[in-house]
């Protein structure tokens, strides 16, 4: 009698043991580590974590810090342009590819391959393309456009926009792929009906298909927005935050203060601030999904 009962109990316990690694990763790796970072942000830690509790002083310091404010400003400008450009380009590419074009597979492959490249490689290629004198700039002048100076990458005001160009090149193919999947899911009957009624294709896209793609667009928006918050590699590879600190971004500010400028408390406060918009986006998305599932 003992053996089957034992094995029965084992069967009940095994799933829990099997999920132990996941429990450890979720509870310690994500939740615990996040809470620890939050705690550090409330202390006066410099090189090493210290227990000296100073309340929200690090947050005050953070928002008095010129470099942090500049990085937030950059991130806002970058984020708006990057998300808009990815959405528009991705959607247009998907719509155009969806018109029964010849060589559809070739176009898809071409638009998506940058996504297989890392942000570092992307940043380095675009850094070379945009190098004043030798890059595109030089070719423009060789073509006789002597007055044109294409030196955004070394310009205080424009460096961050070069990062927009490079990362849009890298990620808009992904948006195209997701949007195309959405378009292929649209009921062909809608197209038949619209054609019978003589409604022009662009109006069908704008007024019927686009609203139907809302779930896809929400997913894409979430992906792009988190990519914005995570922006680090591409900046490091392309401009190193320069010239000066002109293209500084929050993720880089945090890394620099953690590992180069030994100001762990301030960096942790920055990390928590960076978390806020991510959670603010995530919560309504999760809520909408769960309502849809419950319905």
């Amino acid at each position: 009698m003992a053996t089957p009962r034992l094995s029965l109990r084992l069967t009940r316990v095994t799933p829990y043991t099997a999920l132990l690694p996941m429990a450890i990763v979720a509870a310690l790796g994500y939740l615990g580590a996040g809470l620890w970072t939050f705690y550090i942000s409330l202390t006066g830690s410099r090189t090493f974590p210290s227990g000296r509790f100073i309340g929200l002083a690090q947050y005050h310091r953070l928002f008095d810090n010129e470099r942090w404010m500049l990085s937030l400003h950059n991130l806002a400008a970058y984020g708006v342009l990057f998300v808009l450009a990815c959405l528009v380009i991705g959607f247009l590419l998907a719509v155009f590819i969806d018109q029964n074009v010849k060589g559809e597979g070739v176009f898809r492959t071409i638009f998506l391959y940058p996504y297989a490249m890392s942000f570092v490689a992307t940043g380095l290629v675009w850094q070379w393309l945009l190098t004043p004198g030798d890059g595109i700039d030089g070719t423009l002048r060789a073509l006789g456009l002597h007055d044109v100076r294409f030196d955004w990458i070394v310009s205080q005001d424009c460096a961050i926009y070069t990062v927009v160009v490079a990362t849009v090149w890298q990620m808009s193919g992904l948006v195209m792929a997701l949007m195309l999947a959405g378009l292929r899911g649209v009921d062909p009957e809608i197209w038949k009906a619209a054609r019978l009624d003589g409604i022009p294709a662009w109006r069908v896209y704008a007024q019927i298909v686009l609203p139907m793609l809302w779930p896809t667009i929400a997913t894409v928006l979430l992906l792009l927005a988190t990519a914005v918050a995570k922006l680090y590699d591409a900046v490091v590879a392309m401009t190193q935050g320069g010239p000066g600190i002109a293209s500084e971004v929050p993720a880089k500010f945090i890394m620099d203060h953690l590992f180069l400028r030994s100001n762990v408390g301030l960096a942790s406060a920055g990390a928590i601030v960076l978390l806020v918009p991510v959670l603010a986006l995530l919560a309504p998305y999760a809520y909408a999904r769960s309502r849809k599932e419950a319905a």
Binding site: Y30, A33, R108, A181, T226, F259
Partner: protein, 310 residues
Amino acid sequence: MKMESIVPPLPAAAPVAAPARPARRARRRWTPARIGLYVFLLGAALFFLLPLYVMIVTSMKSMDEIRQGGIFALPLAPTLQPWRLAWSGVCTGAACDGVRTGFWNSVAITVPSTILPILLGAVNGYALSFWRPRGANVLFGILMAGAFVPVQVMIYPLVRVMALAGIFGSLPAIVLVHLVFGMPVMTLLFRNYYCNVPHELFQAARIDGGGFWRIFLQVMLPMSLPVVVVAAIMQVTGVWNDYILGLVFAGRDNMPMMVQLNNVINTTTGVRQYNVNMAATILTALVPLALYFFSGRWFVRGIAAGAVKG
């Protein structure tokens, strides 16, 4: 609230791999709109291909030729010397062994950082789909939310823990970190895959007396090949392309190729050797690019879930 639903399901009916809309038999006439369509697509294709083209031609020119000709010009005297230098002669700091050091480090990191997350992801997905232990969905929810959080939020505590354990800056450290940050997507992939397996199959195996591990090893794992392939492609690409984790956790002796590449190009003083730099960049991007071009629709299948990681 079901937190797991925040992430798009793995497109089993793959997004781009989906069959094209059945071609309308009517022959297309070359209307102006149709021509405009192709002009737009070809223009876009040109823009997307341009950096790849420039990378390749630059890597095959001498520095003199780069200074004289335009960036778009074809190499007049193609040379492979920059490639040789990039692979085995270029300097990072004091060592001048080329990016091959980083290449082999990346291989050493990528192999265990692919196998372990896939194994754990498969076990997680299996347990979540069929056994549904109490509380598991809460953990899964935390994991999924964590996938969207910038690593900066978790990175410093992880560094402290690794330092305490005495493994900071070693191969086990970087593999462990890839395991942590790869787990959400790997778990999600397998969970969604197993959710589509008929539950009767599982129940039949239970009635036949199969236990947790036996059903996993003898029933589920053998039919998981498609999702394993997708997971492997995504994890190899993600680990190979990672920069920030390698920079922090791998240490000097295990420096992955991506970190080394950035050091070669951005921290080397003196005259910039654009041709060598571009050869090194292509060499570094080659593994995921080859994976993309050869695996085609498999790569695409993982993309919706893989994008979560980004």
